[in-house]
Amino acid sequence: MNTNPDEATLALWLDDELAGADHAAVEAWALTRPEQLAARGEIRGWRATMAAAIPPSEEPPYPDFFNSRVLQAIREQTPVAVPQVKSFSWKSWCMPVAACVGMALTFWVGTKTKATPEYDVAGAPKAIPVEPVVYTPENGVNAEWFASQEASAMVIVLKGVAAIPDATDFSETVYLPAEREIDSTASTEVEPTLEKGQQ
């Protein structure tokens, strides 16, 4: 090469990026220029220093998690296929119409059907009024009753029943629950259920 290479070509040669005829031409030109050969050697040394000091590739921390997280993000960001809107079909409007026709037909059939016959209850058996019967628990005790529809009241009079002595303690006829010990660990919120008194 008799003429100097342009700057771009020289830069490519210095960084070992030239190939083929271009490379051969610049190599021939540089043979008589030791400063260019030295510059290329310096750049080669620089690149080797950098390559030794800084690795071009470093696995990121948790590499498997790295991939799975990216893939998950991709899945989340990928739009879900929207279900296609059903095209217009005869079913879409025919079914409601058929339902309306069915209801109208049912109503019409109902109006044309024979009405339910009224039953004659005149001949039906009637209830016979029965006098109330009063039973008494003891022999010799007579009971009579008096009823008044106006007063909506009924009175039963018992004759022959012995008088109740004044000393009778009616509390004995009432069930009173016995006092219980209160368990300090038990809940006091629960109220005891009262039983009904027995006669």
């Binding site: 620089w46 950098m50 030794a52 000091a53 800084i54 470093e58 696995e59 790295f66 993000a73």
Partner: protein, 220 residues
């Protein structure tokens, strides 16, 4: 890291000992096959693509913003955005270059949002060097002797601090070229820039970095 599909047949064609696993993992042809499957909705293929490229994207973003937790989130954002943009992806460029471009936009959007939230000015302070987590830089990369590991760890800290003093554009172009190994053309695609701009930025970025690392650099 999982082995890519179809790796066996490719390895068999190569002489023993000459196979570069990293090259296989980033085989553009196999990337295109997985991309074609992912474009049809195959999430397993996309999972494979992520496994292949997450390391480089994460390293690139972390070296840009110097914050591991944010870099983790932003790297995820890159892959989520890439999935949604997959239908637009054409095999004109490598899948990895396309990812770097999404990463570039994601990081700059993040910086812009932080600027708005903090009501500050959009400047290099968004990518503050003070936030550098020095402990994380000393992680051994494996396969090195303890001395070499320590020396590289120290050098790495110094380079990271020096990178933090560059503008985001200069830092990014250095990382893409000298760390990630992209060509000028790929960097121009990733940064939505011209070839001339990339060359100019790289030239000045290297000069500044070498000046910042003068002592370290000359001792080697």
């Amino acid at each position: 890291m999982n082995k890519p599909h179809g790796e066996t047949s490719k390895v068999a064609q190569e002489p023993v000992g000459s196979v570069d696993p990293d090259a296989i993992m980033n085989d553009p042809d196999d990337d295109f096959r997985l991309v074609a499957l992912a474009q049809k909705g195959d999430t397993r293929a996309y999972d494979e693509l992520m496994t292949r490229h997450r390391g480089r994207i994460f390293a690139m973003i972390r070296n840009m913003i110097h914050q591991e937790a944010d870099a983790w989130d932003l790297s995820q954002e890159v892959f989520i955005k890439a999935w949604h943009a997959l239908p637009k992806f054409e095999a004109k460029a490598k899948f990895s270059t396309w990812l770097y471009r999404i990463a570039h936009n994601t990081v700059y959007d993040w910086a812009r949002k932080r600027k708005i939230e903090s009501s500050g000015e959009f400047n290099d302070e968004i990518f503050e060097r003070e936030r550098i987590d020095s402990a994380s830089f000393t992680t051994p990369s494996g396969g090195e002797s303890p001395d070499a590991t320590m020396a590289n760890a120290e050098l790495r800290v110094k380079i990271q601090i020096a990178l933090g003093k560059l503008s985001p554009d200069h830092r990014e172009v250095v990382l893409l070229k000298d760390v990630q190994g992209l060509s000028y053309k790929e960097i121009a695609e990733a940064m939505s820039s011209t070839l001339g701009t990339v060359m100019s930025r790289l030239f000045y970025a290297r000069q500044k970095l070498q000046a910042l690392l003068k002592d370290e650099y000359e001792s080697r």
